[in-house]
């Protein structure tokens, strides 16, 4: 038994937001108790006074680089970073080596996650074999092996007919396709958002339309076949508008954005800073505002950081050839907490974007809620603590972050996964990484 004492328990899935105690037993949420803490409790007590007690956070879009690119990250290091950042579950993309397009790879990731992980690992399998955009993967076998969704993330499924067939084929099974929405022809080999900064620096631009055209296409295909679609890493105003429109039309289309898209703009690439290079690229201020609005009005279902570790030498080079992507698992929570500042996002809403939202999108049972009987995944958040994100804090194998040196507010005080404390900054509470 484990008792989390006296915290503000916020569970958007059940509508709870009140001070009390949360009991965990045998890997499950046992129940919530209001009032005085039970005397003579037989088990570990974690003091959480002044802190938030929320469902274990879920990041539905990470790259753990395992198997195949373990020098960038592996399941052990990536999930350690996740736990430190407050995440008890991550969904990892399929662009590994070999690609996660077979049940063997899916099972290997799951097995390694169980053995070495500090958080739950949910594999996302490829839509097409080898991510080549030519043939569909064996969807049901992959799902039976444990894949929670399908995505060719890193690149789009370019052929619209193939995407249609995939979405249509998996519809009876209820699987969701996660779309890296990009028209690569329109992106034209660009390396940064097509705007003033890229023009000034002489960097070939990626127009917003490269994302918007692809989102529109994918939504229209989903509408045609009635499939479940999820738009990844939305970065543009029109991208948010299209998702909103799809939702209003009653389509089962969900969407995520990443903290970098509501925190930074393309101004961050000044000086050719390759740590601000990613795909989709950091956009203009109007796009950033639109992403914020999409979060505020509930259009966006989930915040996912697109954790993309890269060794230094593929970033320490010319901007045009530098690798895309940034690490994010340890900065996602504090950057997301900054959304509360304007008062337009409530704590419960914010917690939902990082727990119940992604759990719903991926159909993860027993996750994203503190209801009795759910898995004992709990994050204790200290929303006030101030700290600086320094290179020494990075638990990933890679340090490619534009947020190094940033002053952060809020952090995970403790991360409990399956009833085990995986990260703790609370005095007297030990963690088993």
């Amino acid at each position: 038994m484990l008792l989390i004492r006296g915290g503000r328990v916020i569970d958007p899935a059940s509508g709870r937001d009140e001070i009390g105690h949360l009991a965990l037993k045998d890997g499950r949420i046992h129940g919530f108790l209001a009032g005085d803490a039970p005397a003579g409790f037989d088990g570990t007590v974690i003091p959480a006074e002044g802190k938030w007690v929320v469902p274990g956070l879920i990041d539905m879009h990470v790259h753990l680089r395992d198997p195949g690119y373990e020098w960038k990250e592996d399941i052990a290091s990536g999930t350690r970073a996740a736990a430190a950042g407050g995440f008890t579950s991550v969904a990892c993309m399929a662009n590994t080596n070999p690609v996660n397009d077979s049940a063997e790879v899916t099972r290997q990731i799951l097995e390694k996650g169980r053995m070495e992980g500090s958080a739950n690992v949910f594999p996302v399998a490829a839509v097409t074999r080898g991510l080549e955009g030519k043939e569909m993967t064996d969807f049901t076998e992959l799902a039976d092996a444990g894949a929670v969704a399908f995505s060719d993330d890193g690149k789009p499924v370019e052929n619209p007919l193939l995407l249609r067939r995939a979405m249509e084929y998996v519809r009876p099974f209820g699987y969701r396709i996660l779309s890296h929405a990009e028209d690569t022809a329109l992106a034209g080999g660009g390396a940064a958002h097509e705007g003033w900064t890229a023009r000034k620096l002489g960097i070939p631009g990626i127009p917003s339309a490269a994302e918007e055209v692809a989102i529109a296409r994918d939504i229209l295909i989903a509408r045609q076949v009635g499939g479940k679609l999820h738009i990844q890493h939305i970065s543009t105003r029109m991208g948010v508008d299209l998702l909103r429109m799809a939702r209003r039309a009653g389509l089962d289309v969900t969407g995520e954005t990443a903290p970098q898209y509501f925190t930074l703009t393309d101004a961050a690439i000044e000086g050719y800073d390759t740590n601000a290079k990613m795909n989709p690229p950091l956009r203009g201020e109007d796009d950033r505002m639109a992403v914020l609005e999409g979060i505020q009005d509930g259009t966006i279902d989930a915040i996912a950081c697109d954790h993309a570790p890269h060794e230094s030498y593929v970033k320490k080079c010319e901007f045009a050839v530098a690798a895309n992507g940034i690490i994010g698992l340890q900065t996602s929570l504090p950057l997301s907490l900054s959304l509360l500042a304007g008062g337009k996002v409530s704590p419960a809403h914010l917690v939902g974007l990082l727990s119940a939202g992604p759990a719903r999108v991926l159909g993860l049972r027993g996750k994203g809620t503190l209801a009795a009987g759910a898995d004992a995944d709990v994050t204790i958040i200290d929303p006030e603590t101030e700290w600086v994100f320094g290179p020494g804090d990075v638990l990933s194998k890679s340090k490619n972050s534009p947020f190094l040196g940033w002053k952060m507010r809020g952090a995970a005080a403790a991360t409990i996964c399956g009833g085990r404390v995986r990260h703790s900054a609370i005095a007297g509470v030990g963690a088993h990484a």
């Binding site: 002489g202 631009g205 030498y313 593929v314 010319e318 050839v321």
Partner: protein, 310 residues
């Protein structure tokens, strides 16, 4: 004034006084070039490495000539574009060269920001001889110097730049050199090659060459890179030449004493008609002359010279 720069990476952070200082220094360098023996010992014992990752004959030769006339030891290093996936990285190449202890690296590279990147990782001075689509500062300064020689001033001049604005590092340096000295600039080319964001520079942006050159003092024609035609920014060279080529008819709209410039090499009959390329109002050869003097000035100042006047 005193010169404090260790590198010349671009003109975006140059003050007008600094550019004037370079021009003044170039003027005294040009005097050297009129002598019987066109060589001074100013950079004796200094080593200049021309590190070129992109094919270039004229810029490299110009820097080589400039270095030799100042008695520097000049070494040319040419290489294909570096790659992080195969071969040596740019950083490794530069560090290898640096280990041989040169004093100045003159760098030409196809990636925007390459010179700035190197300046953060090596200890010698760097002159950017063109980085991708970003800047070509010595070209910006030689254009400034050439116009000054002919017009005596920059402030108030109307200057049209016509061609592939999108990919041009010359434009991005000229916007600073000519713009900061008070010229009024007009940028012209096919809409696919003139980003609408360029209006933010304060320049007039148009796709009408007649509007662009009407009443101007200077016309800078840019080279159309034929190899870019693979991605089809415009229908054909014939169409391009018809709409954006400078011929006598269009040129007649400019001021009577207007001059023509071109950073070279010229595609005769495409962006510039044969007769205009060779006419008395073409400053193309004077640009080349100014180029050596300006590059001598930059090498001299970076090597620790204060002013070449004495």
């Amino acid at each position: 004034m005193e010169w404090h720069r260790r590198h010349v990476l671009g003109l975006s952070d140059f003050h007008p006084e600094e550019m004037e200082f370079v021009v003044d220094t170039a003027r005294s360098m040009e005097e050297v070039l009129t002598r019987d023996i066109k060589k001074v010992p100013a950079l004796r014992g200094k080593t200049v490495v021309n590190l070129f990752f992109e094919p270039s004959t004229r810029t490299r030769t110009s820097f080589e000539m400039a270095g030799k006339r100042l008695s520097a030891d000049v070494v040319n290093f040419s290489s294909g574009t570096s790659s992080v996936t195969k071969g040596e990285t740019l950083l490794d190449t530069a560090r290898n060269i640096e280990a041989m202890k040169p004093d100045i690296l003159v760098v030409r590279h196809s990636a925007s920001g390459a010179a700035l990147f190197l300046s953060r990782h090596v200890s010698c001075s760097i002159i950017n001889a063109g980085d991708g689509q970003n800047e070509h500062p010595s070209q910006g300064l030689l254009d400034l110097y050439t116009i000054l020689k002919v017009k005596g001033k920059i402030a108030g001049l109307e200057i049209a730049i016509v061609g592939d604005i999108l990919h041009s590092r010359v434009v991005r340096s000229d916007l600073h050199s000519l713009g900061k000295m008070g010229a009024k600039l007009r940028l012209c080319g096919p809409a696919t090659l003139v980003p609408k964001e360029m209006a933010r520079t304060g320049a007039v942006v148009t796709s009408d060459i007649r509007e662009a050159v009407r009443g101007v003092d200077v016309i800078i024609m840019l080279r159309i890179q034929l190899e870019r035609q693979k991605t089809a920014y415009f229908p054909s060279l014939r169409e391009y030449s018809r709409m954006y080529g400078l011929n006598r008819d269009v040129f007649s709209l400019a001021k009577e004493d207007a001059v023509i410039m071109h950073p070279g090499p010229i595609n005769r009959g495409v962006e510039l008609s044969d007769e205009l390329a060779d006419c008395e109002r073409s400053l193309v050869m004077r640009q080349v002359e100014s180029g050596v003097a300006v590059r001598m000035a930059l090498l001299y100042l970076l090597a620790g010279g204060s002013h070449a006047a004495h």
